[in-house]
Symmetry: C2
Subunit: 224 residues, 2 copies
DNA sequence: ACAATAGTGTCTCTTAGACAATATCGA
DNA sequence: TCGATATTGTCTAAGAGACACTATTGT
């Protein structure tokens, strides 16, 4: 019998210079050894509780990062995608602030702007495209982008994160109304973002209750 | 080495008596032989191009149905869900008009209202719950429910399908405005639904171009 | 004619976006 | 004080829902 290859891949996304970037690693085993690809690997039936657990392990082992947001994306499968044979890859995606990647202890980790991703091993290009589409869709009606922010941030910063992801300017008043409705942020008492030659902005943080839970809106933020 | 069990399961949904129903089959092999469960089975690496192909085959072989709408739902995995060992099930969901199931040649197929699904083998209850949530979410901003309609239907019929899925009455004027914006239906010239003791309704069909493609709206139809 | 539902016009209320006024910083 | 951006108030326009009026059938 021809066993099916079971793997997980993680699309680790962050925001750098106002653009979504994906984290890639040089593969250290064949096939495609030495080539940049998504962090991923075999599911270990004796070690992983499920594929979500395997994805967390992969992220931890290969990048040293623990992401509070890690969600299943989709499963990619077939005879053609892996030269070793018929394979299944359960793909996950994670969002982390840029600082988390910058301070990660794995320096061989590369960040590539998602719009500049070209040919990659397996179907990793398609997996990344799917993840980016998912993040863009979900950002338009949820608090997903806060996972790309540091633990304290200003509303103008958060707005620019949304704008970078959605690729379109957002009305300031509407944006603040939406965020206010989501009711997931709280001002950090007395904390302002100083140093700029203008009125300082209030710093906010995500309410503890929402740290690991998305908040959804029933109406989209920006309808393109 | 401990090979991982790779299966697909299909959540086949339809609308009967204004309620979403799921199609279940008696299993003819262990584990859980004789018990009602989702149509599903092993991925055949030598036969299936990918898991989507496997899901189509499963639907065809086990129910005799070919569904124009078959989408990947999510992947369920782990050590505990299958007594045979660590397993991965890539779940798909399909929507078909009730008539298609009624005329399917497999009489041992059972329809169960999704709200009355109780304990099922494996994690099939959870898979069904995920599918129902997906369908409800997606119906609120897309043309998904037309896949539950026969090839010709009236707007009041379509509205009642939406209402059954969303579980809430919808404003008639708003509904028609939305459907009109989606621009996926065309009236069948001269075809009216007669026989009722009131003004007959115009029959519509899905434009060919959209027969296999969802149409999305940027605003939700009914905000709960 | 009457009951019943289809189909459509229109009013109101809610929500999104435009605009602008005020606030508060560094230079 | 000036320039710059934060924050907030308010007006306007677009969209959703309520209501009601007309249309057309079977009984």
């Amino acid at each position: 019998m021809n066993a099916i290859i079971c793997t997980v891949d993680v699309v680790l996304l962050t925001l750098q210079d106002e653009a979504l970037h994906v984290a890639l690693l040089q593969r250290d085993h064949p096939p495609f050894a030495g080539v940049l690809a998504l962090p991923g690997g075999y599911v270990h039936a004796d070690e992983d509780v499920d594929t979500g657990d395997a994805a967390m392990r992969m992220l931890r082992e290969k990048t040293g990062i623990e992401s509070p947001y890690l969600e299943q994306l989709a499963t990619f499968s077939g005879r053609a995608r892996d030269p070793r044979g018929w394979s299944i890859s359960v793909a996950y995606y994670a969002l982390v602030p840029w600082q988390v990647i910058a301070t990660a202890r794995h320096p061989e980790l590369s960040l590539l702007a998602v719009d500049q991703v070209r040919a990659l091993p397996f179907d990793h290009q398609q997996i990344i495209a799917t993840a980016v589409r998912r993040v863009r869709d979900k950002s338009s009606y949820s608090s997903l982008p806060v996972y790309l922010c540091a633990d304290r941030f200003t509303l103008p910063q958060l707005q620019s994160v949304y704008e970078a992801i959605l690729g379109t300017p957002i009305n300031k008043v509407s944006f603040r109304r939406k965020i206010d409705e989501l009711d997931i942020l709280e001002p950090v008492a007395g904390a302002l973002e100083t140093g700029k030659a203008h009125r300082p902005a209030q710093l906010y943080r995500v309410k503890k209750r929402f740290y690991r839970q998305l908040s959804l809106s029933d109406r989209a933020l920006s309808s393109r």
